[in-house]
């Protein structure tokens, strides 16, 4: 038995007939080939699979693809616009906010959501909002700095910088 799912992902509409039990993370990765989001734990603990469902971050390992029918999904592949990196992406580069890169897409999606709703978060607020996601490499310090870098960048409205020390 299959079920028809029509979902808009990063602005493109996809229609697929899938098993009702198919998880959103596997739909995005295996059916659509968008492998930037990762499958890490199955239990909503690690957050490697975080993407947006209708503008809210969700852990897509515990969302059925069928639940996304008629809705909009945004993944890490949808962050870069017209060849310009999103400031949170740039922030992670500038502040060494990633090492192996496996948790990064989920962290970026949460960070983007945070700055959309709280453009000037302090360290405690950043730590709180990423606390549902696990990073095994960075000890979180540089992720916090990366999000702060992006917040500063967006608030000051400065043009792209070539690199250098984190602001």
């Amino acid at each position: 038995m299959t079920i028809r799912v029509a979902v808009t992902v990063n602005g493109t509409e996809y229609t697929r007939d899938v098993e009702p039990r198919l998880l959103l993370i596997h739909f995005i990765r295996d059916e659509l080939g968008l492998t930037g989001s990762h499958w890490g734990c199955d239990t909503s603990n690690c957050g490697s699979c975080v993407m947006w469902l209708d503008a809210r971050p969700v852990k897509s390992c515990t969302v059925l693809a069928a639940m996304a029918d008629g809705r909009a999904v945004r993944t890490v592949e949808g962050l870069e616009q017209d060849g310009r990196l999103d400031p949170v992406q740039q922030g992670f580069i500038e502040c060494h906010g990633l090492q192996c890169g496996f948790c990064t897409s989920g962290m970026l999606m949460t960070a983007r959501w945070l700055l959309d709703h709280h453009p000037d978060p302090d360290e405690a607020e950043i730590r709180e909002v990423i606390s549902g996601q696990v990073c095994r490499c960075t000890g979180y310090e540089n992720i916090v700095r990366s999000v702060r870098w992006a917040a500063d960048f967006e608030r000051s409205g400065r043009p792209d910088r070539g690199g250098g020390e984190p602001a």
Binding site: R21, H38, C41, T43, I93, C100, G101, C103, R136, C137
Partner: protein, 791 residues
Amino acid sequence: MTDVNGGPPPGFGRRLRKEDQRFIRGQGLYVDDVRLPGMLHGAVLRSPHPHARILSVDTLAAEAHPKVRAVITGETLASLNLAWMPTLSGDTQAVLATDKVRFQGQEVAFVVAEDRYSARDALELIVVDYEPLPPVVDARRALDAGAPLIRDDQPGRTTNHIFDWEAGDARATEAVFRDAEVTVAQDMLYPRVHPAPLETCGAVADFDRVTGKLTIWETTQAPHAHRTLYAMVSGVPEHKIRVISPDIGGGFGNKVPIYPGYLCAIAGSMITSKPVKWMEDRSENLMSGSFARDFHMRGELAGSRDGRIRAVRVTVLADHGAFNGTAQPSKFPAGFFSVFTGSYDLEAAYCQVTGVYTNKAPGGVAYSCSFRVTEAVYLVERMVDLLALELGLDPAELRLRNLLRPEQFPYTCQTGWVYDSGDYPRTLRLAMELAGYAELRREQEAERANGSLMGIGVSFFTEAVGAGPRKHMDILGLGMADGVELRMHPTGTAVLRISVQTQGQGHETTFAQIVAEELGISPDDVEVVHGDTDQTPFGLGTYGSRSTPVSGAATAIAARKLREHARLIAAAMMEVDVADLDWERGRWFVRGDPDQGRTITEIALAAHSSLELPEGVEGHLDASCVYNPPNLTYPCGAYICVVDVDPGTGKVSVRRFVAVDDCGVRINPMIVEGQVHGGLADGIGMALMEVIAFDDDGNCLGGSFMDYLLPTSLECPSWELGETVTPSPHHPIGAKGVGESATVGSPPAVVNAVIDALRPYGVRHADMPLTPAQVWRAIQGRPFRTDLAIG
């Protein structure tokens, strides 16, 4: 040519990572991202029992599943002589069980199906008839008379004993203990933990029946070693095997061993003639993948009343699980545990280690442990704190009195390791200064007067990393040396091929910086190729913090060889004597006439041109090096942790963490600091949260992230780092390994801080993890064993 930061080519120094560009776009290529035409999916059936005889395996219903292409059992593999494989410690391990299962989660059968979900569905259609046997759960009972025999597959075996091993001088140590003014002793457990990289283990195997070529994409930290082992086991010749280790989502030692799932994927591809992907899920990773530690230790310290540490003695019971699959140099069955002499000038030292089988998953050397330096540092740093308590001395002061002095290097410790360099007192003093140590102690006194439980923990570690010298260090007979190949193209850019394997350490950036430093070109002009055995020279891979100590050295030497070859060509270009040329960054010039010179880029083009070269000089610009390190490198560090303990709940909060690391010359300080940050988080996790425990029936109690708790951004403070730099005297660029330093050094700092906080209750020790329950029980005077599900 300028670098992206706008300055001159920097070589060493802070530099943004090349690899980030793909990761932040979601364009990394991890094993599970590999999709091949016609690819099938595999899943492993695992034992629910920790110890049971297999009476029968019925696969008929699974084979009848419409989407199943193959069902493989131990019997199938036995007919191919593949049912058992060698482990990295020279033991054997079942690929798929035939006679018995020996731990919960052991591999029993493998299904190949058209999709991921169908493969898992079919697992439920396989009927295995088990006859449960009593399990050995507690390592301390494994050698009891009448204990169930786990490895009855080995002819003549009558016990669960694996090995006895010792280091140091038992008699000299006993002599010091006999006349010591003061001694302290403590039993302690470094519990079983798991590296838990966010990417689980997996593989895509593709056997081409026509060409006989086996290509396997694999989550491995050691692609070349795996290829050699596959050649030995499978009968496929080594030149027909290509192991590709693409982007790796964290390793921490979890991705060093060969897992049965890899071989099942290979067998599945050979049987179906299709590519087969196998990705384990999180529970499989935690329950069956290589665990770490599980060392039951008794430490003793002998000292004098005036605060001199004289000798240390340790006995260890090492729980290796059901198969001896520890990944470590073969002459070191307890890894490098014998550096438990720590950072102190001792009169004598001795350790005795016994390894045993239990009905638990195999492994033991993983989780950034530097071949068990982790356990060694934990032991000695806990013992030093116990001695300080006994003597009524401040633990930092006791350490300062006993740390090796700079003039003692190179220092041969009582168990024979030759520490290369370090300034230990300066390192500890810097950490104390950054922490405001004296002020913290005053604050603690005031808080105690108010009934608050504030604790301050100190640790000092010496690591031994960068295996090996190959004369002493090999894995399955493969000497621990690593090769690099460096080639400069006609237009002056370069490609460096390395055998070591990044799992997030940033090799593409760091190794390019080494070449840049040596040749005076931009790191952007150096492409680093890794993770493909068809494209890179042989070497043993990345673990034990060995990439920079071994392959970093190889890279610098290869670049210097290339530079010397460039000198010959430059001399021909300028028609001058080779001996008259001097090097400055990026060019050879005529001594006394600096305007007359040729840049490396000009030389590269000339090397490939019609220029007539002297007899014997080949027209190319490349070099290679296989680096066999003369010694390990010995990074060190001083860590200070400040905690607050809630006396009502036992909850520990880490308020501050100061870490001063000395890893010699820092190639990219940004990356070094990132490595330290990650290791400090590991330390918080192990000290306070993480454990793989078992119940009496042998059930694994850490099989998901619901039970195996990892530190998040809320448990971790904002790290405060400092550095000292004492270059390694034998490393070409003076660098030392750093990837595991913080994981090794931080757990004792956290535990020492918690025990310090509990001093008003007279607590001397409690085993990790110091969960609220464990701390609360310690306050009540009865801390429990954390490895068993009993209270």
